[in-house]
Subunit: 232 residues, 8 copies
């Protein structure tokens, strides 16, 4: 039995794709959920020794306690459930990402998007409580996001906000549906369908509650666009 | 066999609920689809003889030809696919219904709603091409509908328009999803879910493509509200 | 880090739309679920100071304890999970809303609808245990609701009650499906579809378990209709 | 190639289960759709020679022309799309089946149920245009069906009729949803779910548009029950 | 406040439909779930005083303790979660119901069906562990159910058992899908669809996990059929 | 424009994966649907010149006419809609595949499976009209398939046949759901779910109407197993 | 009637949002489906007179004939069903978009994406027949797309290609599911879900068959990124 | 009451199908979930006394403690939640099964598949962390699985791995979707659909999370194929 078991343990070790930073522009992001804190520490240490910045999503308080003790530069965001650890010489900020959300209940997903974009070295503007049903609020907030390089719109319930925002901006909009709602919301299916059917040509969509992916795509676009004056 | 067959024919005769006008305020509306023109003529004649106005929905050109020949007052609307026939002394118009739609493809459903409300004796304002993605158009159209007694919003695609409209008005909004769209629209399921999940408290919903029902409910509300100054 | 965090806290503060009462006829309703009691108190205090009546839905016992202590006029309804706080000179009651439900399990949703309509200043008749399968009960209850200005019908299971009720009344019926049921009920999908497909022309639908919205729409209609004799 | 092909043809020949009448009480019913008229004639001839009565469902006009020419006793019902051919000494009628439907569009499914029950030797009462929204019609028709041994209720749209009927009778009710409707009807899914969730204990359900199955089950129950006075 | 609350309590009292026994053949069955034991006792006492037998489904141990203490004739079945209380002179058993299930996990639903049929005065044969994948077991059990007046087949997973059983019997089969299964079972949707699409003409279906309804329909049929020799 | 268009044409040319036969054991199969006959001829010629046997699925009569004229060895099966063209020295048959189906309407899918397995060099037994509701037919057919190396079961409607067959054989069963059925069949969803939930451990499933894939997997298994005596 | 009808005609006129080019960077794109050729010509003329380039999607041969006759610079792509009309001084190409698709059946959607990106002034590489099941083809094509500024991946069937492509590139990937497939594909639902669940962080999704939207987003990103060297 | 209850207990006893090993090649596998440890021990003892090897799936720690104490040869795998107990003379290993999975979260399902194949006497190679998004890992692992007799691919999220693996191997691939994922994964529906729509001809599918079934089918194929050189 012993051989068999240890073999099993062997294959279970997560191997880190350290080559990814070169191939894809950013290092591998670590999904914290269900990971043993000591195991997570091991992975992060490997990544830091390779001179790469780290981002952990779905991090627990236990993860945070251990990692912030070991890496003083670590920034734990309890609402976003992220830990990001800069590495190497401080990068200058480049690209501007706006993260907009309708209600306070969507906040954890929005914060995860924001932290991801910050980790990628973008300037982030986070705008909350900008619902469709209170139309003046969006108009008031317009100056804060109309010059962004990419916009992430996080919305549950009926998910109409991305279409409305997209009509005001020239840049790509990443729509993130959330599972906030009840009844015929069907755990985020309603806003997901709304966003996929958006009349606005500049809206693409990611999975329900996928704050990280929304922030990552916006960051990717903003980093590559940031220094260039907008198309005229 | 003869007896059996004629019995079958007997039960197949549609009986008209002439008492409905007294009980529910408006006479029975006749669903034209699949009805033999001569049979339809018979039903309508019965209703007209009882002194009641008639409304036929899903009317075909054949229906229209026959009925407009027999009843000169009949108004056939080919896009709405309706025929309405006033009866008795001309009612004064009462109540104001606004029908708003985003694109020209939703027009048949919107026209059906409008014709229904007109048949009920309401003043109707019909506003088309007021999409979410072109936000100024809605703001420009605001004066035309913000004083209505009831608003019908007809929308396919992502179905976000009712939420946006509802934020600007104090009256009830009846949202009518349409099957206009493709892919993840799922024949109107997407806008239906959007509307059911609307953040706006004054939005209720009817079936996909149910222009008649949207117009009927709006007409019902407007008739009963029309003479009263808006709540302050 | 400090700056970043406090900024985040800044945007998280819910801003109250005090202008809504003027624009839409009724002040903003506060969704209690997940709100910190102290934060809720702050919002309500702001609203009360502006001379507006308050309605809190999905209120917890903790919310109730704090608010009823501070505002003696507050009415907490534990089954409806609502708190309503009148404000200013007592309004005369206007408009009559009937809330009808089939079984006792639908009661929390029905009570939420009733409390909402009471907060809007309507007279409310609440009728429970009026199921489709016991047909005499509905006929017996008819005199209590046939003169209402708007009817809210709350039903889970197969959701047939709104169609049956709508055949007896001339006013609009707001159908509220509930998630009461099991198996092929699919958490309220079955009654939702039943209601959307209702043969009755005067039925519109809101989201599953949306007692507040049902009551709000009925209240809106009843307030605007109440003083006018029914259309003949 | 020849061998292979003829083998294929061999297996394609439908074998008739002539033993079924003994095992299950009634002979095999023949589904006409897609069957070559000559092939159908062959099967029916076999069954008639074995002294068994025949029932063909989904029969085409071509089927009817051929079979009524050959078997003068054949009864073709064009709306039900059935052909039934009695055989042997005339059975006395036994058991009473009521078939009830809300609208005229559900008629083909209702007629198929009725013809099936007639073929089984039951007395059939067919009641049409008895919708939920016109409540008096059902009460007026009550004497015609309350003593039936089994009731088939055929309904599309919201499918509420079986629950309402079942509250008035002591016998089993077979509910047949139809695909009549549009939008959120989803080709009969809405009435199917309504019927499965019926509050009435004496309602069971068959497939969408399954008029034959509804009539067969009702006939089965009525045949076995007919001579017995109802349980008291 | 006091008046309002007590009114609410007033309407919440469940009224018992004591006339049902006369109209529908059996008294009203009481759904125990969520009912306060004292309230339940009150309802049952009323029914017993009217000389009617009682059946409580979804009964808790607390319900059982109280009712069996008060009514010594009460039979509590903990697996079926039912309590039945005979009343009046002992009825002779009439009609034979077979309840068949594939696996031991479906047992609670099957027992609920069996207890319901026993309460209606039928003889019940309960056959478990008769799965489709072990074909001999069904053949061996055939003599025990082929003469039944009605058969209830309870099945989760793929739900194929009713079709297989129905091929062997002449009587109606009531199919009860259960939520036993995982993955693409979708909480009973898979066996529900299987049963609705059954090729066997004598199969009708009730809701997922609706053991009571399955037993009630079978009991209804068997009571009315029982004394009559099977149709030949 | 010329350059752009011709480039487009260039990429549109299907490149044939001639290496596949070496890598995967069988050459690439050609999906005929929508292919221009001349284009198809070109592809097939390439494959034949490389000494590989060809299989075309979803072939039209036009395809057949052209290919059988050019390649005399071609076998066109009009029901299966396949054309297979042997190549090189005649292979000895190896492995035994049984294809079983319940009704004659599933025949095209079953024939496609059979032709595919024949093309792979397997002996094929095709058994039709072996439905679940006529249990003796399956028992009678048992000797014809219980020694097969792999069994393909093709079934629409409720899709129960694979589970029943799988209880009698030791080899893998490939279940192919078909879109044959109506109503709650949902174009094959019902039998698909039935098969995925099969209690039998030796059943795996392919897409709805995927006769080719069912035959290919069975052929793959039978070719590799055929010469070996069954496991004991 | 005259007034009413002409009013209706008035609102039906599509108003062109000529300000959009300034606000959003690109002029309004015209959806051709269902538009009268003369009406389309009118809209396009307006846009051309304003000095803006035009793009018509879902264009019919009739549209093409009329527009290419009037505007010699018009490029009609019959497979993509697009017409694009450059305007003003020729823009230098900027940004590189790769459009990749698995099979030839997805070609119309892919071409629509490509034409849209070309209209936006991007260089486009179109790669077809690069399926997941033939892994070498993708590796061979890698040099043609790994330096693109944005990649559009068009895929039906199981929709796995975007995930595989995204592992090789650093830029954003826009995934476009198509309705190509059958059975459990459910008209594109299967690839849509696959893409939304992609493990790759740089994949976002648009509606089923939304080639235009995929090309527009890729063009938007590429235009803004193109002149900048890739992030290091 | 006593008789009735004990009868119920009687039928509840699971009867073991000891004949299965002869008929189907392998003994009955025991589903542990919900089984009382003592009852399980009884069943296993019966099987062991009949000289058959045992496999228990979904075993709890309590099951394991009892069985490993009684049967020293028992192998408990806590991650797979299986217990297997060899019996009789040690079989030589035959056939090679590869089990491949993308992420560590799918491990329990993969281990269940692996333990099942080991119990059947196959050599098993288990490969984890071989995701689609890191394409080199799969290429590196290719030598370990390309000669397997059957491959099980376990995948959640988008479920694309089976298609990719199947392009590299000649043997059958059994795809096992898992419920790992969130949002539009819908508890495994997304990877299930992906796998059913796979372009690769050699992929068949089992239920979501059905590790046992995946391993059983692969073992069945490998046992029967193992000694034969692969088809050329």
């Amino acid at each position: 039995m012993a051989n068999e078991r240890s073999h099993v343990m062997g294959v279970a070790e997560t191997r880190l794709d350290l080559d990814r930073a070169r191939r894809c522009g950013f290092p591998e992001v670590i999904y914290g959920a269900g990971k043993d804190p000591e195991h997570l520490l091991e992975i992060v240490t490997l990544q830091q020794q390779a001179g790469q910045p780290s981002l952990i999503t779905r991090a627990t308080p236990e993860h945070a306690e251990l990692l912030t003790a070991r890496f003083p530069a670590a920034i734990h965001h309890p609402v976003a459930r992220t830990i990001r650890i800069p590495n190497g010489p401080s990068q200058e900020s480049r690209g501007h990402v706006a993260v907009i959300t309708a209600g306070t209940t969507d906040r954890p997903v929005a914060e995860e998007a924001a932290e991801t974009a910050r980790w990628m070295g973008c300037r982030v503007t986070l705008l909350m409580d900008v619902g469709v049903a209170g139309p003046q609020r969006l108009l008031n907030a317009l100056p804060e996001f109309e010059q962004a390089d990419a916009v992430v719109v996080v919305a549950g319930m009926e998910g109409a906000l991305p279409s409305v925002v997209a009509g005001w901006v020239a840049c790509p909009v990443i729509a993130v549906p959330t599972s906030v709602g009840y009844g015929a919301n069907f755990q985020g299916l309603a806003p997901l369908l709304t966003m996929l059917n958006s009349c606005a040509a500049n809206v693409s969509v990611v999975n329900i509650d996928a704050g990280f992916k929304g922030g990552y795509l916006a960051g990717l676009i903003a980093r590559r666009t940031g220094a260039v004056p907008p198309h005229t």
